[in-house]
Subunit: 184 residues, 2 copies
């Protein structure tokens, strides 16, 4: 499976990375959260080439993360704003930022600190359970196969075929679906 | 600023992406969380080329995300395990996964669902405030400049220079530091 096809994996991490997993993309979104809206602004902040930036912005608009809004006519000019889907990436950015603070800060400490207006105190972002609100630790979370993966496993079992490990399933189930779609 | 230098930005998101922002890297880490440990296992699951996989694993070991542990002698063979730094990426993966579930699932629903043993119920990962435990919303969080960025802004003000926007600061402060280090 090539990188270009990872959106075909039956896995939400792979699907998410098919949109935000290219170089620069999450930095563009970081800047959008900081208020950058115009092509020239992104270009100036990031120092990415104009060609690459155009490519990334186009992809983010096509996939629904950003929307293009005209801000001037004659000549028409557009700015880029985060959609609800784009705003949904806030936890991804904050988790990356927190990991960077914890593991990659130098003697100057974290580049930014955060203040939560709701409780009026400094805060770190924390991954919590939507049910009980407690911090989510990997050893306390188990994953269950959703519909498509369960059906694929049942199909393998009916055929008397070996069932792959959880780590192998996303790609194999995706390839199976691609093959089925081609047949139809 | 080239992609290869984004770790020089005074920004934890950029620093984190300098380690995990390449194609395949977060999928390798996803598989490590699912229990994959050996080169052949990663190769089989992902379908990435051996050359690229070697490159990524070497980088993850060098940066401290994975550690190489011998599991056989004569010939010596190694497996790759997540370090504490690597385990710290759990919130990043879960946030990507949750975003994918919300925005990229098809008619089959989410590929996986999660069960939290601590509260014995199904769960979604949620970004919460470490102080009050409430969900963190971007509009309720404000960022404050840390030491290095504050000092850079003070330096600009002393020189009577324009202070860039928050979105421009990370790169400019990084370039300033690079220039200072060269002088020394």
């Amino acid at each position: 499976m090539k990188w270009e096809n990872i959106d075909q994996q039956v896995c939400s991490v792979a699907r998410a990375l098919s949109i935000v997993g290219e170089r620069w993309t999450l930095l563009i979104i970081r800047d959008a959260f900081k208020g950058t809206r115009r092509f020239e602004g992104f270009h100036k902040n990031l120092g990415v080439t104009r060609h690459r930036l155009t490519e990334r912005l186009t992809m983010l608009v096509e996939s629904g993360v950003l929307t293009k809004v005209p801000y001037r006519t004659n000549p028409e000019r557009f700015e880029y704003r985060l959609t609800r889907m784009g705003l949904g990436l806030y936890p991804v950015l904050m988790s990356l930022s927190h990991w960077g603070d914890q593991w990659l800060a130098d003697e100057n400490g974290p580049p930014m600190t955060y203040w939560h207006s709701r409780c009026a105190s400094g805060c770190d972002p924390q991954l919590a359970c939507s049910g009980c609100g407690e911090p989510l630790r990997p050893e306390e979370v188990s994953a269950k196969l959703g519909n498509e993966l369960s059906e694929y496993v049942a199909h393998l079992e009916r055929q008397g075929l070996a069932v792959p490990s959880d780590a192998e399933l996303p790609r194999q189930a995706g390839e199976y679906r691609l093959a089925q779609n081609k047949k139809e």
